[in-house]
Amino acid sequence: MRSKVIAIQLMIVLLLGAVIYGYVGHLLKRYQTTEMAQHLLQEAGVARIVAAREIRDLRRDAPALVETLGRELKQRVTVIAWNGDVMGDSEVPAKKLAELDNHLDRPEIRDAMAKGNGSSIRYSETVHRDMLYAALPFKTAAGQDAVLRVALSLSSIKEAKDQFNAVLIWSLFLAGATVVFFSSLLASVSTKSLHTVAAMAAKIDKGEIGTRLPVASGSEVGELARVFNNMAQKTEEQLERLAAEKNRLDTILHGMGEGIMVADPQGVITLVNPAFRDLFALHDDVEGKQLIDISRHPGLQDSFRGVIGSGQERVEELQLHTPKEKTVLTHWVPLLENGALSGVVAVFHDISDIRQLEKIRRDFVANVSHELRTPVTIIKGYAETLLGGALENPEQAARFVNIVYSHADRLASLIGDLLTLSQLESGTIALESRSVSLHDMAEHVVALLEQKIRERGISVDISGLSRAPAVLGDPGRLEQVLVNLVDNAVKYTAAGGSITFSASAEGDRVTVAVKDTGIGIPARDLPRIFERFYRVDTARSREEGGTGLGLSIVKHIVQLLGGTVSVESSGQGSTFFVTLKKA
């Protein structure tokens, strides 16, 4: 751009210069020649006066005269007879005169003879130069007609012309150089502003969106800078809006409880949120990896392939086994861009808790109906038998009624437990708050269950409670708790086993431990044993006459007393821990 400007300006200058040179040169030349011709004619005029007076005999006087005149005028002087013969020439020695051509045909001579004066410019064979001739006729003192001619070498003109040329060329050169220098300076100045704009644009392109141009008002560049700054400002604002939007979406994704996963049709994951990571226990980078590298669960792979293949949404329940047993509701949605499949979005909803609660409810209802039905069926059966005739037989009748009674009793205790539980859960039971001695309580409970303990041949050790601090609670309910725990321990410990009590205190809490050497509780059942009717080994538990509600009641009572209950177990036995407030 810059060089174009300079080149144009240079060309203009040169063109102008050429025109001026040509014109002035021409003018000068013409002027010189005309002036010179005029001047020469004047000189010829003076010379012819001298010649007219001094020459009597052409042949005799002309050579000397021309020599003198030539010397004085410093020009070539020639005298020509009316017939054209050269009588004298200041440049030619007298001896050589006869060798000269007849000059009659020379234009200036002819004009002089015909018109009274003549001039011409031509190349002289005689002196081998461009000459300017001026010729005038005259009459000698003897009355003879002759022509006087003065000639001027044009070499001086030529020299002057050459000098002029040189001056003009040098000045043209100088002008050109000056033009180049100044226009390049000017060009620099204007392109500098453009360069600044370009540099700023490059910066913004690289990402420094905050760059702005200083505005030099008034100039066109200033206008450009203003527009430019406006544009940059708008772009910056747009980017900020987009960033804020992205942040909002990120926050939403981040805070969601459901897991989100976005993948491309090849199975490469492009986006996940923290909930998804938690669900699959992923700690490293997930984005950019293949689905199979993240989880090998066949269900997940099949679902993914299904959605990609069919292009249809699908909802599936997935059973995860690692890292934990979980039920996950998965919703797959294909992503379409211009009608083509561009990826898949999957939403994972952890419904393990819901399923768990459903299972508990189902189990509970099933258990209650079973528990209630069994004794009722038996009672009905025996009543029927009695009505059918067994009443007649007093022995049988007595036996049957006893059976009916014991089952009615069992039913009563079952319903009693259920009611207790219900009351405990609803908080309608009033609990006393008294200081209770653990040792005394344990002693009492062991006495209550003495028969069962003896029958099983189990040893009970309560010595660990001898120094136990007193706890705060409702004595009746606490007794219920210990009875339940000890009863369980007895039920599930084989003959020869032992039950050991111990206590530990920490701060304002006291923890009682009831340890047995029984068959233990499987790990997967541990979290559920405090559920209503939950049985680890259904057959055995029923056989022993349990209601399945014991531990549930224990848990509720302890919680109402402001404490906690927990259990540890292995194949060698179980230990129940009850933590209560210190009295």
Binding site: Q290, I292, D293, S295, R296, H297, P298, Q301, H321, T322, I519, G520, I521, P522, A523, R524, D525, V536, D537, A539, S569, S570, G571
Partner: protein, 227 residues
């Protein structure tokens, strides 16, 4: 058919092989979980479904073997790729065997579920978890090319071995006390043995992953050996 086209096709074939191998691994992991669940939760339906999965495992073994042969014959891979393909062929065998053990466990579950439970299953689930973890870690190591979890896998294997011994002893006393428990006790013993074998297969896979990653063959040496 420029050289570049061939190499990208080769690359795609390797990726496909890896994918299929991992899918097979995922199915086998599922089988371990469901077979143990069918025992512990006494779910015969689940046992049946586990057994049905084995057909798919066997099919995948054949498919992957063929893929490997194809790759070796046509592409003649070298160095790391060669190790990968040959080890894929070996790992596939271990996976298929694990599948078979799971089927065996499921079959025992079917038998056990017809009779009352002998005793609460405490050690069996723990063994199942350890075996499952060992297989998972071995496959994870394969995925990540990171053999640093090999130690954990060996530990899990030892845990399973120890629990197996313990369980066998316990069941022996059961059987001696009460002959009526023999059949059930034998079933549980079998399950324990199957789990022990699954854990062994997991260590096999781990050893091969180490070889693939480090070029070091550590089979038949203990982890303690520095060489």
């Amino acid at each position: 058919m420029g050289k570049e086209h061939m190499s990208s096709q080769f690359h795609a074939e390797l990726s496909e092989l890896r994918l299929r191998l991992l899918e097979m691994g995922g199915k086998v992991e599922l089988m371990i979980a469901t077979s143990m669940k069918s025992v512990v939760e006494r779910d015969s339906d689940l046992a049946g479904r586990t057994i049905a999965l084995d057909a798919e495992i066997n099919r995948m073994e054949v498919e992957i073997d063929q893929k490997c042969f194809h790759l070796l014959a046509l592409r003649q891979p070298a160095a790391r790729d060669l190790r990968f393909v040959t080890l894929a062929m070996k790992i596939v065998i271990d996976l298929e065997r694990i599948g078979d053990q799971c089927v065996n466990i499921a079959r025992e579950a079917l038998a056990l579920n017809l009779v009352p439970q002998l005793k609460p299953y405490i050690d069996l689930p723990r063994m199942g978890e350890a075996a499952n973890r060992a297989v998972k870690l071995a496959l994870d190591a394969f995925v990540s090319g990171d053999a640093s979890t090999a130690h954990q896998i060996c530990r899990d294997d030892r845990v399973v071995d120890e629990l197996n011994d313990q369980l066998q002893r316990e069941l022996l006393t059961f059987m001696m006390e009460d002959p009526a428990t023999v059949e059930r006790a034998m079933s549980i013993t079998s399950i324990s043995n199957f789990l022990e074998r699954i854990a062994d297969h997991a260590t096999n896979i781990a050893e091969m992953v180490i070889f693939m990653v480090h070029g070091k063959d550590i089979r038949h040496a203990t982890i303690a050996d520095p060489g």
